[in-house]
């Protein structure tokens, strides 16, 4: 159930799959609310015992002074601190806490819409001193003696960030509005992530993508993953906070299984694009989901 017809964007964790995985690791429902941490620096103190897990870029994360690697469940005791350092690679991390972040649900979601300033915690990014309500949790998933779980999730799920990633895409409806040279450059040259990128989209510098026509297009839907090309010829890769409609040509769409990698792009990173079929995109997504189901069953066995 969505609210796109009212102009409300998808929202939620930019790596929604990663957050599902970390939620399972701490014993939550996979859709529980977590935190998205951009460029690290988060320190949080817990008032009662919780299990935490995170995924994302290459961050140094510690519970008290014990390192917590990505996608391992860690036990934080009351009064202890959880610290995120700065990322070596990538820029974002997702943190799941047993019980979930218990903010009220707005329009069917606990996520924050920063542009429209609603949802999440007072419709804004967190600040020093904020106190977040946590939900009740059923049971600790790790035995109390075990500080950090030995079991973990597949590496690609835990740490999707790459220094110079390749993103797979399917051609967009306006593919044929671009000349052959442009289409070749899209798949053969590197693009550099510009500093004015955010949760709405990643702005890319690099070869100018040139259209053959200059017709004004009728505005229609865009989606997270859409690569649109404004008149400047510099593509924008849209992410989950993107607006719902757009009038720029859509040269392609990054496939869903690669959006977690896209969510790690930070200023100065180089990114390549590689074309796949729509069928491949669906097959990859369904394969990953099958693996996820097995992972969920595995976790269920661990905790009994």
């Amino acid at each position: 159930m969505g609210f796109r017809e009212f102009g409300v964007s998808s929202g939620g964790a930019l790596d929604s799959f990663g957050l599902r995985v970390t939620n399972l690791l701490v014993g939550n429902d996979e859709g529980a609310a977590g935190l998205e941490i951009t460029l690290g620096g988060l320190q949080s103190r817990f008032e009662n015992d919780r299990v935490v897990a995170w995924c994302g870029g290459e961050f140094d994360v510690q519970i008290a002074s014990t390192p917590l690697p990505a996608c391992h469940a860690g036990h934080v005791r009351a009064g202890e601190r959880l610290k995120f350092g700065w990322p070596q690679i990538g820029c974002r991390a997702w943190l799941a806490v047993s019980g979930g972040i218990d903010v009220p649900s707005t329009l069917g979601s606990r996520s924050t819409d920063f542009r429209a300033q609603f949802g999440g915690f007072e419709g804004r990014t967190l600040r020093d001193g904020d106190q977040l309500p946590l939900g009740k949790f059923r049971q600790l998933q790790t035995p109390a003696t075990e500080r950090i779980s030995t079991w973990t999730a597949p590496h690609d799920w835990a740490s999707p960030a790459k220094r110079d990633p390749m993103l797979r895409f399917i051609p967009g409806v306006d593919w044929n509005r671009f000349n052959a040279r442009t289409l070749r450059r899209l798949t053969s040259e590197a693009f550099t992530v510009s500093s004015d990128s955010d949760r709405m989209g990643v702005r890319l510098d690099g070869p100018k993508l040139e259209r053959m026509d200059n017709l004004d297009l009728i505005s229609e839907a865009v989606a997270p993953g859409t690569i649109q090309v404004p008149p400047s010829g510099k593509p924008i890769l849209l992410l989950r906070d993107c607006q719902t409609i757009g009038g720029y040509p859509k040269i392609g769409h990054v496939i869903t299984v690669d959006l977690g990698i896209a969510a790690q792009l930070r200023a100065g990173d180089h990114v390549h694009f590689s074309e796949v079929w729509l069928t491949d995109a669906h097959r990859l997504l369904l394969d990953r989901e099958r693996e996820f189901k097995r992972f969920r069953i595995g976790i269920g066995l661990q905790s009994t």
Binding site: E5, G7, A116, T256
Partner: protein, 253 residues
């Protein structure tokens, strides 16, 4: 190519992927040559696809000539053998949904799409109408003519988008069409009524924007705690009613 009959017109309907988790149903190719008819047709398709409750569909949104359909491939895949069939399955079901509705419609001779008429009080006070002089100059009329023309016309919501609750209104008197400002404003107050090209619209939230501001409404266009969260929906008819500054202030209270 699939075709379906509607109002004695044969309309090709094109369905194109929007990535791997959404698609666009292009009901018509053009908008400006027949905005009313196009909107009616798009909204009919929107409702038919919604009523069909196709498994895996998460949300739908109409915009100008098209309807976007967002879906969860994982849920949808339960009905198919191989991933290669997923998109085709949606295309088939959407076409069937739109066509089935069309058949019923022609038998019952259903009337045009039922549209609400929403009256929007608007104050054209100079403090709110920062760009009304530019609009007047371009149209070669007085500012009071701009107010008169803008508030006399009846508009229709062609699309809600850009930010939550922003209505793109079609039906602006041609005279008032004014290109967007060269340099967009960084911050536009909520309720601001603007003209951007051949359209008029209302900024629901604090946001940047390049439209020419000619007035402001005291009404709230987007409230996430309400159902539905927006004052307007695609297809609604809209009129602006001129209010004084005093009326504007008393609305706010």
């Amino acid at each position: 190519m699939f075709r379906f009959a509607q109002h004695d017109k044969i309309t090709p309907m094109e369905i194109v992927p929007l990535g791997d988790s959404a698609l666009i149903v292009r009901v018509r190719e053009q908008f400006d040559d027949a905005p009313e008819e196009t909107l009616d047709e798009v909204l009919r398709a929107f409702q038919r696809i919604r009523n069909a409750a196709i498994p895996g569909v998460i949300e739908l949104a109409p915009a100008y000539t098209s309807v976007s359909v967002f879906f969860d491939p994982i849920t949808a895949a339960k009905a198919i053998e191989t991933p290669g069939e997923l998109f085709d399955l949606f295309v088939e079901r959407i076409r069937a949904a739109v066509a089935a509705g069309a058949d019923r419609g022609s038998r019952r001779r259903t009337a045009r799409f039922r549209a609400h008429l929403v009256e929007i009080p608007a104050c054209y006070d100079p403090e709110f109408a920062l760009d009304i002089d530019d609009v007047a100059r371009r149209a070669n009329v007085s500012t009071s003519d701009v107010i008169r023309l803008h508030s006399a016309a009846e508009y229709r919501v062609a699309c809600i988008g850009f930010v939550p609750g922003f209505p793109f209104l079609t039906g602006l008197p041609k005279k008032l069409a004014t290109p967007r400002r060269d340099v967009p404003r960084k911050e536009i107050p909520p309720g601001s009524v603007g003209i951007g090209g051949a359209q008029t619209g209302i900024y629901p939230l604090h946001s940047p924007g390049g439209w020419n501001l000619i007035g402001r409404t005291p009404l709230r266009l987007f409230d996430p705690d309400k159902t539905p969260p927006t004052l307007l929906r695609a297809g609604d008819r809209v009129r602006f009613r001129v209010i004084t500054r005093e009326e504007f202030e008393s609305f706010k209270r």
